[in-house]
């Protein structure tokens, strides 16, 4: 524990007479500091273990009362009603519907804007546009929720009169806009990392900027772009306040974005706001739903990290 990482400090200390006398005390102090720092660093692992432990503990209790088969196959989710159904499917389709809609906006717009910022925009314009775009990422999600429910939804209802006040589409639109900077800045980082020589070779062959961007730079940065896309999906799946405010509280098996639905995250918020007594089956449902959510986002994050490592085009 007391050993040093580097060789130089140990040998440096040998020449200082004063240090020699105090060495045992010093070594003890050094060791203590290292142990303290190690404990702090382990705190992050403990957090993960804590998340997993809490979720598993409550989820096991949940599955002692509800069979996994029902959880997976029942097409209805009504734990708060007197006739209780525990099928996760409606919450899953709600989540997929909102996420899908958000990605329809965030992925193409984010990617095209990344190409523009990395290949087209002059440096001065870039330095103005990028920070402006990044403000979007810093705005609290409750603010987006406000915007989705009280601005986008009424607008949408003017265009589609049969849209409900709470609907998946307005949550999707706002969430999509919120995620644009994430896609854009991660994809841009990947494209900026593509070596200049590749671009210059293509230009020398007479390619236009668009051809360089779409046929040379984007393919070379593909792993980074795909990783950015997956992270964006994961972010949308876990997003809570926009859907809790604007998408409604009706778990429904529907793919109609103009209807009111409920996502996994919005359900957890709904139960947390109510007066559900601790220890009841209704209370345990939020941990089972949370577990599903955690596993989905964990899987997506791991896939995205793998994509970066496995499919990176290495130059030099």
């Amino acid at each position: 524990m007391i050993g040093e990482g580097a060789v130089s400090p140990a040998s440096a200390r040998e020449v200082i007479p004063l240090g020699v006398r105090r060495r045992p005390l010093r070594k003890f102090g050094e060791g203590l500091a290292k142990v303290f720092l190690l404990i702090c660093a382990s705190g992050s692992v403990l957090t993960t273990l804590g998340i997993v432990a809490v979720l598993i503990f409550e989820t096991i209790e949940f599955f002692q009362e509800v069979s996994i088969l029902e959880f997976v196959t029942n097409p209805q989710w009504t734990p708060l009603f007197s006739v209780k159904n525990f099928g996760i499917a409606p919450l899953l389709t709600g989540t997929v519907l909102v996420t899908g809609g958000a990605m329809l906006i965030a992925l193409p717009v984010g990617l095209v804007s990344a190409i523009y910022l990395s290949e087209y925009a002059a440096d001065r314009l870039r330095r103005i546009l990028k920070p402006l775009l990044e403000i979007l990422a810093g705005i609290p999600t409750v603010v987006y929720g406000y915007f989705a429910l009280l601005f986008i939804s009424p607008l949408l209802r003017k265009i589609f009169p049969d849209a409900q006040v709470f609907n998946a589409a307005s949550a999707s639109i706002v969430m999509g806009v919120m995620i644009i900077p994430l896609v854009s800045s991660l994809s841009e980082d990947a494209m900026v990392a593509v070596p200049r020589s590749l671009r210059e070779a293509a230009y020398a062959l007479g390619a236009t900027r668009m051809e360089v961007a779409t046929r040379v730079v984007a393919p070379a940065a593909l792993s980074g772009i795909v990783a950015a896309f997956i992270l964006a999906i994961s972010r949308a799946v876990g997003e809570t306040m926009i859907v809790a405010i604007a998408a409604g509280q009706q778990p429904k098996l529907t793919l109609n974005p103009l209807e009111s639905i409920e996502t996994m995250t919005a359900y957890i918020v709904q139960v947390s706001l109510g007066d559900v007594p601790v220890g009841t089956i209704e209370f345990k449902t939020i941990f089972a739903v949370g577990m599903t959510l955690f596993l989905m986002t964990l899987l997506l994050n791991m896939v995205s990290q793998r994509v970066i490592h496995r499919f990176r085009e290495a130059y030099e």
Partner: protein, 299 residues
């Protein structure tokens, strides 16, 4: 043999093709600019919409009143106080632990399997949805440690949420301190801890602080984890201790949005303006710190 007529047709075709490709290129430049502006225009619309809805409801009484059933009397005093409590506690827990963890990973840890597990784990934690941290806080702090729905439970939950962000930012700041600084300290006979505490840490401090401020501003805007641990939506008193129930600014805003009356929506918009001003101030502080730091860097 290609006749001169044939050659001119070929040239004309090539020129037409070149023209088409150039036109496509210019079109793409416009599409790209529009795509980049989509988000920025939306941001502008959002800010204008909120300013229109909320500026009228913003007043000194709004800042100094408790929430109320009557929209014209409702204010955000308890929410502001709750936010201040939670953020102070969050910073008090997350800053020392986060910086210590970053120091360990950058200065002490050998590249072993253990440190690589910690690193991977931190990266994964940064991607966990915030509401899952809420469930952790509910299971661990509220129930197991029986902290109830207190500001302490809220601060601890938020600390876990921002910890990975602070660690990653601090690691980057520490990594930016040139090795020659450390070597000079070792050369003068400093121990590893002395070098870290007296040389590396002060040099990285402004970078660490910048990252911490940004992490805390993320925590100020977070709503979901605190709803999950059971922060109340209606609090007509100020928190008076670690065990006190509380509400925070985003939860108060959420509560007002959820009500059907338009008068409460105006209050929500006014609350949002206050929230955005607080965040803007924090970000400005972070940018100032960063600029100061960048100017000093001449190593």
């Amino acid at each position: 043999m290609i006749s001169s007529r044939e050659r001119s047709i070929g040239l004309r075709q090539a020129r037409a093709q070149r023209e088409l490709r150039n036109r496509k290129d210019s079109a793409f430049a416009i599409v790209g600019l529009v795509a980049t502006l989509v988000g920025i225009v939306m941001l502008a619309v959002l800010l204008i919409d909120i300013a229109q809805d909320g500026l009228g409801a913003l007043s000194w009484t709004f800042l100094t009143s408790f929430p109320s059933r009557f929209p014209d009397q409702a204010g955000i005093l308890s929410a502001l106080a709750g936010t201040l409590w939670v953020i102070t506690l969050t910073a008090a827990f997350a800053f020392p632990v986060g910086v210590a963890a970053a120091v360990y990973l950058e200065e002490y840890a050998a590249r072993t399997w253990f440190s690589s597990i910690i690193q991977t784990n931190i990266n994964n934690l940064a991607g966990v949805p915030s509401i899952v941290y809420g469930l952790l806080g509910l299971g661990l702090f509220v129930r197991m440690l029986q902290l109830e729905r207190s500001v302490l439970a809220g601060g601890l939950t938020m600390a876990l949420l921002v910890l990975p962000i602070i660690i990653i930012a601090s690691q980057e700041a520490i990594r930016a301190v040139p090795p020659s600084f450390r070597e000079a300290a070792y050369g003068l006979g400093a121990t590893k801890f002395q070098t870290t505490w007296l040389i590396v840490f002060p040099s990285a401090l402004s970078g660490i602080l910048t990252g911490t401020i940004l992490a805390l501003s993320r925590a100020i805007g977070e709503t979901a984890p605190l709803i999950t641990i059971g922060a109340l939506t209606f609090i007509a008193f100020l928190p008076d201790g670690l065990k006190s129930p509380f509400t925070v600014l985003p939860i108060q805003i959420f509560n007002w949005i959820s009500r059907p009356q338009a008068a409460f929506h105006e209050k929500a918009a006014a609350g949002i303006i206050v929230l955005l001003v607080v965040l803007l101030a924090m970000n400005a502080a972070a940018i100032l710190l960063r600029n100061k730091y960048q100017r000093r860097v001449e190593w």
